[in-house]
């Protein structure tokens, strides 16, 4: 009796198996990242691999000076506005879609599968298709036209799926109550629906921004003659053989963290403000 109870308390092999999977995950995710961050601070005499020959900001310097390693600043000046536009459109369109999909309408099932199919379609093939189509109609491919469309085909399904999850917890009675209290549709949307859904909308915005900023496959054939950041990095890996490439990795990761930090900070601020009014009272 006591024996069997003891063995029941002992951790079984699934614990160690799952533990091993987790350790492997952490090593594969953070190991390479740490290597790249470290090597980006390589000394001026250092190479592309360990050991470090001193510590410097030399390669960051090299990176910023255009010409030597490629047009990173130019790429950033396209990628950031593009990511912001994609973010705004993703939030707006998936909010509207989420509102619409709360009730069944003729063709709602088909429409849903059409949207979701875009997640399954291979991005690179889609990218070639969009490129070809623009060529056929004689439009110039550009980051703010063809690339924007290609990226939205990727971010909108995600945004919509997140919105479904958000609306799953959103009761219609809020809108009915608002209407009951005399609010018109615009007031209901602005004073009730949007504030309640705001944290979820920020999550969608964050998704839209990072998916766009990081998007490669769908952008490769649609961005035209000027590159976005991932494509610029990819083309640098083809011809740059200095730690500048690592410096670039460190910089872009830093930017991603800034975006995530700002978003989470905004969510925390909203919650603090909502609770803060109470703290002031007590």
């Amino acid at each position: 009796m006591a024996q069997s109870k003891l063995s029941a308390d002992r951790r079984g092999w699934p614990f160690y198996a799952l533990g091993a999977v987790f350790v492997a995950y952490v090593v594969f995710l953070y190991g390479p990242m740490v290597c790249i961050y470290l090597l980006s601070f390589q000394g001026p005499q250092g190479g592309l691999s360990f050991p470090m020959r001193g510590v410097s900001l030399h390669w960051f310097d090299q990176l910023i000076e255009q010409g030597d390693t490629g047009d990173l600043m130019g790429a950033l000046s396209r990628s950031i506005p593009l990511a912001l536009i994609v973010m705004a459109l993703t939030v707006l369109i998936s909010l509207a879609g989420g509102l619409a999909f709360r009730s069944r309408f003729p063709g709602s099932g088909t429409l849903f599968y059409l949207v979701i199919a875009s997640l399954v379609a291979p991005g690179y093939v889609l990218s070639i298709g969009i490129g070809l189509m623009f060529q056929m109609f004689g439009f110039e491919t550009n980051w703010y036209t063809s690339a924007l469309g290609a990226q939205l085909s990727w971010t909108l399904p995600f945004g919509l799926l997140i919105m479904f999850a958000i609306f799953g917890r959103f009761s219609r009675s809020y809108e009915e109550a608002s209407r009951d209290l005399g609010a018109n549709q615009l007031q209901t949307m602005w004073l009730v629906v949007v504030p309640i859904l705001l944290p979820g909308m920020i999550a969608v915005a964050l998704f839209g921004f990072t998916l766009s900023y990081d998007e490669f496959a769908r952008t490769l054939q649609t961005t035209g003659s000027t590159n976005t950041v991932p494509i610029e990095i990819w083309s640098m890996t083809q011809n740059v053989t200095s730690p500048s490439i690592y410096a670039l990795g460190t910089l872009t990761t830093g930017l991603s963290f800034v975006v995530i930090g700002v978003s989470l900070g905004a969510i925390a601020l909203i919650q603090r403000r909502r609770l803060g009014s109470v703290a002031g009272q007590e």
């Binding site: 909502r274 109470v278 002031g280």
Partner: protein, 384 residues
């Protein structure tokens, strides 16, 4: 308490006191189901009315149509004589309190209550002054800065009430207002609702599936079944004189029995049931044919019961059965009998025995017992 000094917020609320009339209301959904099937109902102004029925009987649909959140497929809804179908809740002068209260989670108590004034374009100072006054009326002044999530169920309900009454509606619609509360709060809020209705003098329409809640608060109890109104009467009438076996069973507190009519003379009918038991009761002026099946009800608390051993069984208006369950209920004891020769679908017979009487001569499970009653305690039911 100073509701009369509240500024009327729109013209419609200033006139009338909320007489509601439903004429031939039908609600048919797209898939063809009839939620409400031809309801005619009159609710006098200043009445506390309960719509009572099991889930799915159409009572909430009815309420939502009066509120203007659903449109009837057919029929008219009149408030103080004017047809309001197609009007917004604000134009109707109604306000609704939702089942889950639907308090806006991002607004504090004061902003929730002031919401309706805000969307009507009333300035901050004025709307907060009005809100604070109503918040005081529901005794929530200390909690005015709290968010709904930081309030208890009872406090949330008061916020919902304050939010609904701030513009002095003619009709306040309450969808299962007490269902989210625990038993103790339910009883407390029930009397507060009744008191508030008395103070405001407006019409309250309150949807519930709890019989005791309805008879406790309402002037008028409307019993519904499958989209129809089966009885609309003062609370006491619905409880003591149910119109049909459905109402008698649903309201509870009644035994429903039946027999074939043997004779009718001078409004006095004699019946005999399948087991050979004889009953006699007054049936009023209605014309009835012998051989017809007639159902009647007997109040459970107006039945006397004794062990069969040593008792004489009266020839009329008495039943004999086996005691199946005895439940102590505090002020009375519930004794459940399975009657002799009972069919499987028959209801068990229940007697509520006053506590003192029961313990003077207790009856145990598996005892055989006789239950009898006076003819005046019997009430003939309409055929369904």
């Amino acid at each position: 308490m100073d509701i009369e000094t509240l500024v009327p917020m729109n013209a419609s609320t200033a006139t009338g006191r909320g007489a509601v009339e439903l004429a031939g209301i039908v609600k048919r959904y797209a898939d063809g189901t009839l939620a409400v099937d031809g309801i005619n109902l009159r609710i006098a102004s200043g009445t506390y009315c309960c719509l009572l029925g099991p889930s799915g009987c159409g009572k909430t649909t009815m309420l939502r149509m009066i509120a203007g959140h659903e449109t009837p497929s057919d029929g008219e809804i009149l408030i103080d004589g004017g047809n309001v179908v197609g009007l917004s809740p604000r134009e109707r002068g109604t306000a609704m309190m939702f089942q889950s209260y639907a308090l806006f989670p991002h607004l504090n108590v004061r902003d929730n209550v002031a919401f309706t004034l805000r969307v009507r374009g009333i300035g901050k100072a004025e709307r907060y002054r009005e809100a604070d006054r109503v918040i005081e009326q529901v005794q929530l002044t200390e909690l005015a800065q709290r968010l709904p999530a930081q309030l208890s169920g009872g406090q949330q309900q008061r916020v919902a009430l304050a939010r609904a009454i701030i513009t002095r509606p003619r009709v306040l619609l309450l969808d299962e207002p007490l269902s989210a509360l625990d038993e103790f709060l339910r009883l407390q809020m029930r009397s507060e609702l009744r008191e508030l209705q008395r103070q405001l003098g407006i019409t309250f329409i309150h949807v519930t599936h709890t019989q005791l809640e309805a008879v406790a608060v309402a002037d008028q109890v409307v019993v519904m079944d499958r989209g129809h109104v089966v009885q609309s009467d003062p609370a006491r009438t619905v409880y003591a004189e149910p119109r049909s076996a459905y109402v008698a069973r649903f309201m509870g507190g009644q035994n429903v029995l039946a027999g074939k009519l043997e004779s009718v003379a001078d409004g006095l009918a004699t019946l005999r049931d399948a087991a050979g038991r004889g009953f006699a009761l007054r049936v009023g002026g209605a014309v009835r044919a012998t051989g017809q099946r007639l159902q009647f009800s007997v109040r459970r608390d107006h039945v006397r019961i004794a062990k069969l051993a040593g008792a004489t069984v009266p020839p009329l208006n008495a039943v004999v059965g086996l005691v199946r369950a005895v439940e102590y209920q505090g002020t009375f004891v519930k004794v459940t009998l399975t009657l002799d020769a009972a069919a499987a679908e028959d209801d068990p017979f229940v007697a509520y025995v006053e506590e003192g009487d029961y313990f003077a001569g207790p009856i145990g499970i598996a005892d055989r017992a006789v239950a009898w009653w006076e003819m005046d305690e019997m009430h003939a039911l309409a055929a369904e």
